[in-house]
Each structure stands twice: as C-alpha cells, then as structure tokens.
C-alpha cells in the first residue's frame, strides 16, 4: 500500500491526457476512492476539484454534484483551508443543472439558488452570474413570466469576475430568441460564433445545434447543412452533448435524412439509457420519437438496427418494428415530461413533446448525401 500516492498520481496524469469523456471521469473517480481509502482529505479535495470539471464537461452532472457536495462539506468544516470562494465558479455549473433531476424538489432548487446568491453577495460580486442562473432555471422549468423578468434583469447587470465569458453568454442568449421564434435575430447574434471568431470549451458545439432549426425555418438549407456537418462532428464523442445530438437527430428527421438519423440513434441510445440528466434524456427521446414517426410515415414497418444490449426491447437479430420502437421512445419522453411538469408545476415539457406534431407537418426533403 506504500505506493498508493504513486498510483493516485498515475491516475491523475492519465486523466490529464484523456479527452473529455467517460475514461477521464473514471480515472479521477478511481483516484478519489484510493485517496479516500487512505483518508487524505486535502488530496481528496484537490482531486474532486478536478473531477467536478471532468464530470461537468464529460456528461456526468450527477458525479459533479456528488464531488461538489463532498467539497462543500469540507468548506463548511474548515473554510480557512478549503476556501469556498475558489469553488464559486464551479458551484454555478453544479447548481445550474439541479433542475435536470426530477427528484430534486423546487424548494431544494430555490434554496441552492439563494445559497449561490448569498455566497456571491459576500464577495459583493456575481450579480450578473446569479441572475443568469435564475433566468435559465425559470426558463427550463417553464416559469415563463419569471424568465421574462429575469432575462431583462440579467442583460443589464454589470459584468465581473464571476460572469461567464462573453461567448458563453452570447450562446445562452440565443435560447431566448429561439423560444420566441426570432430566427433571424438568433442567427445574427450568433454570427461571431458561426464565423469561428469566438469560441469556448463548448462553443460553437452547442451553438451549431441550436441554430439548425432557425436555419431550417428560414429555408437557409446550405447553412443548416453546414451547421450539421461541422456541429455533429464536435459533439459525437462526448455524452455531455446528448441533448445537442438530439437537435441533430431532429434536423435529420425534419429533412428526410432518415437513414442518417437512425445511425445517430444507434450510436447514442446507449448514452440516453443511462444519462444522469433527465432533461438531456428527454431531448434525445423526443427527437428520436419524432424520427421514428417519420420512418413510420415513410411506410417502413421494420428496420435493422444495432442497439445496445441494455435497451429493454433489445433484439438479438437487430430487427425492430418501427411502431413499437416509436412507442417506447415516446413513452420514455412522456414519463420524464410528466415528472418534470409535476415537479415544476408547469406544462413546458408536455408542450415540448407535443411540438413533434408540428415538426411532422414542417418536414421537408433536403438530402444530405
């Protein structure tokens, strides 16, 4: 056991070299457990600090939360040694995703938001960051009036060291315009990102997915295709982008590229089956359900697919009835929607699922091949 320090360092070095994703998260988790076995709290804190990043950018918001909660405990016990201020930035990531777990109550979310605001206020900073968090929560939970009010407040609040970078903020602004059907404005705002002049860790990855539908609505199909080709390649290997993969899948279904759509379903269903974010699962299932609806409408009763073994309807020969598949996908989306709407006390998710009917009427052939 004398070499456990070396083992930990080897795992940390391994994680450093890995791209965002499962393997990196696993390596850091393993390192954390090893450290915990030996009860080294400061090292456990340091490694969890890295684990929060890896889990956040590698698609494991639950693991980020667990790591943060542990660190939070140490901050409370010994704030001199474990300064909460150093982790405020990451606290934004963690709190920003609480609404994606339907079992977390509204009250708990509200308390966590208040707590962020109070921690920020102690430094006399972070007003803008806190307002954005609140705006996004209200929007995601379907509290439209509150979201509208916070949107206004967010955009006029002053920037400071706790504010997200300008590119990320710009990307977040796009949602507001897409929600309102302001396609032109969304695209115009995104121009610096589209041109490749501004970027961040997850930008333009997210942006290119967000803009697929606006471009489609404006019948700017070449630009839509460009967004798909560039964008999908950026998100295809990291489960963090499950929801964005859903946007690409929806685009393929909308434009009649059904075979390409099914390939995406094959590749990413495994992520959805076990993804911690129920919101991301919902986005993916909803888009997949729309895709299968289009396949059914195309007159296909059966398709051959390589779906993961963990899939409850898994068929060894790979043959699937398209209607049964659609039913299953839609029921998953409906279940999640019901849980979210019950928790939120709104109808947002039911509405998002119902959007599939609208999409089916809008579908228009635009072969990519």
């Amino acid at each position: 056991m004398g070499d456990w320090h070396q083992q930990v360092e080897a795992l940390r070095a391994q994680a450093d070299e890995l791209p965002e994703g499962d393997a990196k998260v696993r390596a850091l988790e393993e390192a954390v457990r090893l450290v915990d076995v030996h009860g080294d709290v400061p090292l456990g804190y340091e490694l969890r600090d890295a684990l929060i990043d890896a889990a956040t950018f590698g698609g494991y918001p639950d693991k980020a939360l667990v790591a943060f909660a542990w660190c939070r405990g140490q901050q409370k016990k010994d704030p001199q040694r474990f300064d909460p201020e150093d982790m405020l930035w990451k606290q934004k990531w963690v709190v920003g995703r609480l609404d994606e777990f339907p079992h977390i109550s509204r009250k708990q979310i509200a308390d966590a938001l208040d707590d962020v605001e109070q921690s920020f206020a102690k430094l006399d900073a972070g007003k803008r960051a806190a307002l954005k968090l609140r705006y996004q929560m209200a929007r995601d939970m379907g509290d439209t009036a509150e979201a509208e009010r916070l949107w206004e407040a967010w955009l006029v609040a002053p920037r400071d060291h706790l504010t997200d970078c300008r590119v990320c903020e710009l990307d977040d602004e796009l949602d507001h315009h897409v929600d309102k059907g302001e396609w032109e404005q969304a695209i115009q705002k995104a121009k610096p990102i589209l041109d490749g002049r501004q970027s961040c860790a997850e930008i333009p990855h997210l942006t290119l997915g967000t803009l697929l539908y606006p471009f489609f609505k404006l019948e700017r199909m070449k630009e839509a295709r460009d967004c798909h080709v560039r964008g999908y390649a950026m998100v295809a290997k990291n489960r963090e982008f499950l929801s964005t993969v859903g946007e690409h899948l929806e685009f393929l279904a909308l434009t009649g590229n059904l075979s390409r759509g099914l390939t995406l379903l094959e590749k990413h269903l495994g992520w959805a089956l076990e993804h911690a974010s129920h919101r991301d699962r919902f986005s993916f299932y909803t888009a997949s359900s729309f895709l299968l609806g289009q396949v059914v409408a195309d007159g296909r009763d059966e398709v051959s697919l390589r779906l993961p073994k963990a899939f409850p309807l898994h068929a060894v020969d790979g043959g699937y009835g398209t209607r049964a598949l659609q039913d299953w996908l839609e029921s998953q989306a409906r279940d999640i929607a019901a849980r979210f709407d019950a928790r939120n006390g709104t109808q947002r998710f039911t509405g998002l699922l119902a959007r599939n009917t609208v999409l089916a009427k809008e579908a228009r052939l635009f072969p990519l091949d």
Binding site: E17, L18, P19, A23, R26, A27, E29, E30, V32, R33, L34, D36, V37, D62, K63, L65, V66, A67, F68, A69, W70, R72, G73, Q74, K76, L98, F101, P102, H103, I104, S105, Q108, D111, A112, D115, D195, G196, R197, R225, D226, V229, R230, A233, K237, E274, A276, H278, R306
Partner: protein
C-alpha cells in the same frame, strides 16, 4: 500628384471603397477619428504578426497575388519574384529591393489600398479584407513598417496607361504619390525597404534567404535572391512530393530526408496524400514514437503553395494522430488565425479523402507486410484502434492482431478466442483489478478493456464477426464460476450464513458462501459500477451540509443501481472454515463485520462513517475477546489475525 497626403485624411482617408461618405441631415460633413498609424502598426505587430520576419511573408504574398492577377489577364505570363540586398558603402543600414512581375497598381488602386490601411485596426475586419487583393496589399505593406521607417513602391500597372508611379510612405502616417522619373519597362512592382537601424538583423543575407525559403520555398514561379551581384534561385524544384524519382526507394529516401528537414524528426515511413476536395496533396510522416492520446499533431500547410501555417491541426480525421503532414491545398479556406482551416464541407470531404489515403496505407501493410503493421500497432495502437472503430473493413483486418491485457497475461484477440468461446471483458481498470487475481485462480481469462477504445472495439465484435460472443464481466459475475457447496457443507454453514445476512443487511450487502481459489482469499466483495457510485454519494452525503445532503438524496432517488452488493465467503479459506464451527454469537458477529470491512478495504472501497465505526469498534472487540480468552497469555495463535493487513 506630388502632394503629401496623410494616410488618414478627412477627404478620402478612411472610407471603404464603394461605401458612401456620410453627410448629416443639416448638410455638415462628418469628421473622422484620427488614427495613429504608429498605433495601428503596434497593434498589428502584437496581434496579427508573430514576428518582424513576417514582412517577407507579406511581401511574398502580395507578389504571389499580383502574379496570379496578371496571369488572369495574360495567361502566358510566368511571373518571377526578386529579392536584392544592397549594402550601403558607408556602412549605413542596407536596403532590400523586392520586385515582382505582377499586375502592378494603378493610381486609383494606390489610393484605395491606403484607404484600407487607415480604415480599421480591428483584426477581424482586416482579416475580411484579406480576401480582396487590393485590401490585402495594403495590410501586407503595413507589416514592413515593423522593420523600416520609409517605404518606396514603384509600380506599373498592366491595366493602366503605361505610366510608372512612385508611392513613398512614412511611418508617421504621411505619403505622397508621383509619376516616376525612372519608368519601369514592364508591368510589375518594386518595393524598396531601407532597414531601420535597430532592425538590421532582419536584413542580413542569411536571414532574408532563410525567410524567403521558409515562406516561399514551394512557390510555382522562381524566387531569386541577389547578394553582392550573385543571384540564386531559392525554390528550384517545387514540392518534393511532386518531383520525379528514379525508384520508389529513392523517392522514399528523399521524402524522409525532406521530413527530417521540415520537422527535425527521423520518421518511420512516408505516406502520399491526395484529395480532390480542396485540391490537396502532400505527404504524411509516421511518427517514430507514440504520441499522447488525441495529441493534435501540428501539420505544415501551404495554401496555393505559399506557407500558411506550421501548426494546422484540423486537417486529418481524429484517429490519425500517428502522422505529421506537409500538404498544399488550393481550395481550402483558412481561419482568421491562419492556424487551421475553416470547418466547412470542403474540409470535411478533404479530411475524409486524406483519411482514405492513410487507410489505404494501413490496408496495404496488413496485406503485404503484416509484420510491419504489427510494429506499427505496438507504437500507434490507439490510431489503429480509432480507425478500426470507424471502419468495418479495416476492423476485420486488424482486430485479431490487437494485443489486450488479460487476467492470464497479454495476448492478441485471436489467441484469446482460440481458447475461450466468449470474450469476457471489464470496462474499468478498477473492475479489472478486482477480478483479475481471483479470476486467474479459477482459470478464467478476463480481458481488461479499460484502455481507450477497447470496450467500444470489443462491443463492435459481434456486429462485424457475427459468430463472436462478447460479454462484460464484473466481480458480480465471479461467484457464478465458483464451486457450489456440498449438501453437508451447506448444512454446516447455514447458521453462519443466516447470521452474516442479518449483520450485513443494514449495509445493503447480501451474503453467499462458495468455494473458490486462491484459498488465501477469505471473501470477495462485489458490486456494479452504480453500486460504487452509490457509495461515493453516501460518503459525500455524510460530509456535506443539510442543503446538499438533501439535493443528493434527490439525485440518488432518480438513479439506477438499486442492486445490492454481495459478500461471497470462500469455504476453501481456513478462517472461514473455522468460523463455521464457532458457537459464540457475539464473536461470530464481530468476525463477519471485520471480514466485511476487510473485503471493502482490499477492494479499495473507501469506508463510510458506519463502516468506519464498525472497524474501530471491531478491532477493540477482537482485542478484548483475545484478552478475555487468553488472559493475555500465549495459547494457539488464531488464524483470524492474519487476514487483517
């Protein structure tokens, strides 16, 4: 003519060509900001230009564009570029005369490119102007002010009236234009740069030769350097991969030599590259050592045979990080930073085609020189695996040769499948460590698929090789391979089993008793990946405050992994055998608790608060039991104490 203008002057200075000058409603003329040229140059040298040496690149780029424009007017024009260094007799700073046989500039164009210089100091706007020849000319010339205070441009346009014009620009932001007293006898442009005294090191013959070769070494027209009346051609042969060689061996040797020159590395092999999309050609070099996973190789890239970047990254498929390339592309769009290409459909197609070139090389190796491929796998296994994941044909070809770590040593997949009908693998290193020793002792071969791509590769196997069977394996699967108890043993162990079950129920852990090897291992603790995460969450919950403890409850309520963990006791183990005979309930309870904690620790599962209490309490209990039993005296040393290190 002959009047001195300011670069930025109210009448025509900073209005972009084609855009109307703005007048306000009441008829007054807008005033313009005065922009200091010095400031603009400073800005550019900090943000746009990496070193003063790029003045040579910019002059070459101007000349290249001018020659191309001339060729559009006169297809037979070949064009040439000359650099001549003139040393001053009095030892003053030298002059560089830079000439091209390009299209030249008209008076109107001269004013226009100056307007461009003043127009904006914003980098992106400057970059946007790079797409138009005139705009670029202005920006390019500006870089010369990093190394000299005054510039003289003598030019005769192929389109104009045959006059030769002189433009003299100064770093203070003024310039004048006049008809030259020394007319040129053919269209083209001559630029005179008098070195600034503190910049003479950028004007030595060696430096100028090196810079011109570096940026323009592949240009398709002669680039000549004249020093002391002696002229040499800096780019006699064009791109080495397009030259003719007597034999393939000569070719290989020459190209490897070129690779050594460019990258300073002795590469293993050289692969030709070609893509119709983007009109790309060049060579890829196989790295002599394993790079970091997904290390972005920096490639040297020429755009229309002019050096664009030495650190282009996004040219090849992701898996292809085992090579470094030198390529020229005629139809790719560089990004603003000019470090890589714009991600458009042309680039996507070009990347695909270049990937195909590399794939063909690997396929040929597999067919013709399998040993060479095996050496390559040893060095660049990750790249080979990455391609195999993307490409079924290639997968079929190489999968059997890929080496894997197993509980019975390293072996290729072919070796594994010869002896074992089902490929059993653990997706995590942790999982592998937990099973490897015990699995090996049962004669089970389990494959460690924790390394990058391995799990995905194995899961792909049945899709490509239909008769193959693969199954994930974890410590939870081990007990199935263990020997069942006999009826007598089952009866004998029953009281222990019941008691152990009751003791471990609060820990969400079930109990089984089986027989397995090695006999020294008294227990095996197993849980799935979700179980391990559940334990992490439990520890975090204990440490955290009320707010986050509550939040964690919410997260875990929605998570999977309700499966209970399992403690499997090994009846081959002498301690476990003896335990079955113990009558004292308290001692039995204590022993089970300690076996449980020990199993956790051996499996490197951190203890939660409850388990930690068990350990502390249990140790004391055992000590006091020994004291009671022996009164501190000798007696036979119980084997129970041996398992606890």
């Amino acid at each position: 003519m002959g009047r001195t203008h300011a670069f930025i002057h109210p009448r025509r200075g900073i209005v972009a060509p084609g855009r109307k000058q703005r007048a306000t409603l009441d008829g007054r003329v807008d005033h313009r900001f005065q922009v200091s040229l010095r400031g603009v140059i400073d800005l550019l040298s900090h943000h746009l230009y990496s070193s003063p040496g790029v003045y040579v690149r910019e002059l070459l780029q101007n000349a290249t564009d001018a020659i191309r424009a001339r060729q559009q007017l006169e297809p037979q024009a070949t064009g040439a570029v000359g650099l001549e260094l003139r040393e001053k007799q009095d030892g003053g700073p030298p002059t560089l005369l830079f000439t091209d046989e390009g299209v030249g500039l008209t008076e109107e164009e001269i004013h226009r490119f100056l307007a461009t210089i003043g127009e904006s100091s914003k980098r992106e706007q400057l970059e946007a102007r790079r797409n138009d020849f005139i705009g670029q000319f202005g920006i390019g010339l500006l870089s010369c002010f990093m190394v000299c205070d005054e510039l003289l441009v003598v030019t005769r346009s192929a389109k104009g009236d045959g006059r030769t014009l002189e433009w003299r620009g100064r770093h203070d932001g003024t310039y004048d234009v006049r008809v030259s007293e020394h007319p040129l006898d053919a269209p083209g442009t001559h630029v005179y740069l008098v070195a600034r005294p503190d910049m003479v090191e950028w004007f030595t013959p060696e430096r100028v030769r090196q810079l011109a070769k570096h940026y323009g070494g592949l240009l398709p027209f002669p680039v000549r350097l004249t020093v002391d009346g002696k002229t040499e051609t800096l780019n006699p042969d064009g791109p080495p991969w397009r030259r003719f060689y007597e034999t393939p061996g000569d070719r290989r040797q020459a190209l490897l030599e070129y690779g050594r020159e460019v990258f300073g590395t002795d590469f293993l092999d050289v692969i030709p590259l070609r893509s119709e999309a983007g009109d790309v050609d060049g060579v890829a070099y196989v790295l002599p050592a394993s790079p970091h996973f997904n290390a972005k190789q920096k490639h040297r890239v020429y755009l229309k045979q002019m050096l664009l970047s030495e650190s282009a990254e996004n040219l090849l498929p992701e898996w292809a990080f085992f090579v470094k390339c030198v390529v020229n592309g005629n139809g790719l769009r560089p990004t603003a930073s000019r470090e890589s290409f714009y991600e458009d459909t042309v680039l996507a197609k070009a990347r695909e085609a270049l990937g195909q070139s590399l794939r063909k090389y690997l396929m040929d190796l597999a067919h013709e020189e399998p040993r060479a491929l095996q050496r390559l796998i040893a060095l660049h296994g990750l790249s080979v695996k990455g391609l195999a994941l993307d490409d079924d044909d290639f997968y079929r070809l190489v999968i059997n040769w890929l080496p894997f770590e197993t509980s019975l040593g390293v072996m290729t997949l072919a070796d594994y499948r010869r002896s074992w009908p089902v490929v059993r693998y653990t997706p995590t290193l942790d999982g592998f460590r937990q099973v490897a020793r015990v699995a090996a002792a049962q004669g089970l071969c389990v494959l460690n698929a924790a390394y990058t791509h391995d799990t995905a590769l194995l899961e792909k196997l049945p899709h490509v090789v239909p008769e193959a069977q693969v199954a994930p394996f974890s410590s939870a699967d081990l007990p199935q391979s263990f020997e069942e108890l006999t009826l007598d043993e089952r009866e004998a162990i029953y009281p222990l089993l019941r008691l152990a079950e009751a003791v471990l129920a609060p820990f969400r852990c079930g109990v089984e008793v089986k027989k397995f090897f090695p006999a020294e291992v008294p227990t095996l603790y197993s849980s799935d990946a979700e179980g391990a995460f559940r334990r992490d969450a439990e520890r975090a919950r204990e440490e955290s405050d009320d707010l986050y403890a509550g939040v964690l409850d919410g997260v875990m309520a929605g998570a999977g992994g309700q499966e209970r963990a399992l403690l499997c006791l090994n009846l081959h183990n002498p301690v476990v055998r003896r335990l079955a005979e113990v009558e004292g309930r308290e001692l039995l309870k204590l022993s089970v608790e300690m076996l449980y904690v020990q199993a956790l620790l051996l499996g490197q599962h951190p203890l939660n608060a409850q388990e930690m209490a068990l350990l502390n309490h249990g140790l004391l209990g055992l000590i006091s039991a020994r004291l009671d039993e022996g009164g501190g005296g000798g007696g036979s040393s119980g084997p129970g104490s041996r398992g606890m290190h």
